[in-house]
């Protein structure tokens, strides 16, 4: 192993990256490109999907732009930063296997999940079906991240599957999550009887509660284990 790789693997990894000047420039360019694409709709003219966008919204423009930018960045990294990328990837892989890649904190995950829930709720109130469906995909993505945490708890991205304490925590979390989910489903059934128009709003809230309660139980157990 090279010295550089060794130094990289020594530190504990997090999935958070500090925003550099280049990062801010990249973000500004991305926002500007997005605004321009939404204003001029070049892909609709190019692909002849104007009628589709009139009826279904401009999301294909954003999707094509995102795809093009991802390909562009991948090509740039492959050509100009190939060696750095390979070193970083090798060190990341080793850190992942050694269980040193840390997960997002509970606070960060809460911000993402509750933020997505807020957006979905706003979309529901605004009666904007296309936008709400896109936001719902984002919300479900964060819900899947949280579900993964319940099934594979631990501070690291690749927790030890034979860690007895984590298995014990998981059993507790699943028990609490199961009870919470049943209570949430019962509440939804009652709501459907007396306030059926609001069920569409209440379902993501119930899902969020069912996912976050076990996460907070893990937090409490983990702190208790640390004392």
């Amino acid at each position: 192993m090279s010295d550089e790789l060794h130094q990289l693997t020594e530190k504990r990894f997090t999935l958070r990256k500090r925003f550099t000047l280049l990062g801010w420039i990249w973000l500004t360019m991305l926002s500007a490109a997005n605004a321009l694409v939404l204003y001029y709709r070049p892909f609709a003219n190019l692909l002849g999907i104007e009628a589709f966008e009139v009826h279904h919204g401009v999301w294909p423009e954003v999707a094509i732009l995102c795809g093009a930018l991802i390909v562009l960045k991948a090509v740039y990294l492959r050509i100009f930063r190939r060696s750095e990328q390979l070193t970083e990837f090798a060190s990341f892989k080793e850190a992942l296997l050694q269980g040193r890649v840390l997960r997002m904190s509970l606070a960060t995950r809460c911000i993402f999940l509750l933020g997505a829930l807020a957006l979905v709720s706003v979309g529901w109130f605004a009666r904007e079906p296309i936008g709400t469906r896109i936001l719902a995909l984002l919300f479900l993505l964060f819900a899947a991240v949280e579900l993964n945490f319940i099934i594979h708890p631990g501070e690291t991205l690749h927790p030890d599957p034979h860690d007895e304490l984590l298995l014990f925590f998981r059993a507790r979390m699943l028990k609490v999550g199961y009870v919470t989910a049943i209570l949430a489903l019962t509440s939804l059934y009652v709501a459907s009887l007396f306030a059926s128009p609001y069920v569409g709003l209440l379902v993501p809230i119930a899902l969020t509660i069912s996912l976050l309660v076990p996460a907070f139980v893990y937090r409490r157990l983990d702190r208790q284990a640390d004392e």
């Binding site: 007895e164 304490l165 284990a225 640390d226 004392e227």
Partner: protein, 72 residues
């Protein structure tokens, strides 16, 4: 009717061996939190872990863990 609970002398045995929780965790191959929760009776270890702990502390499982009977 009696309800049995499991007590342990892990902290005492560990102190006798001049080991920290982190040292014992490293010897056994678990996290420090696992040792801490076993010592505080928050978590009851598996037979495999109990045997490994006993071996590392040069004692038997029966010496390390015992039944505390509480009349209900």
């Amino acid at each position: 009717m009696s309800e049995a609970r499991i007590g342990n002398r892990l902290k005492q045995r560990r102190a006798e061996k001049n080991l920290t929780q982190a040292d014992l965790a490293k010897l056994v191959g678990v996290s420090r939190k696992t040792i801490n929760t076993v010592e505080n009776s928050v978590f009851i270890p598996s037979v495999l872990l109990a045997l490994t702990l006993a071996r590392q502390l040069d004692t038997t499982v029966e010496q390390l863990f015992y039944l505390m009977r509480e009349e209900a």
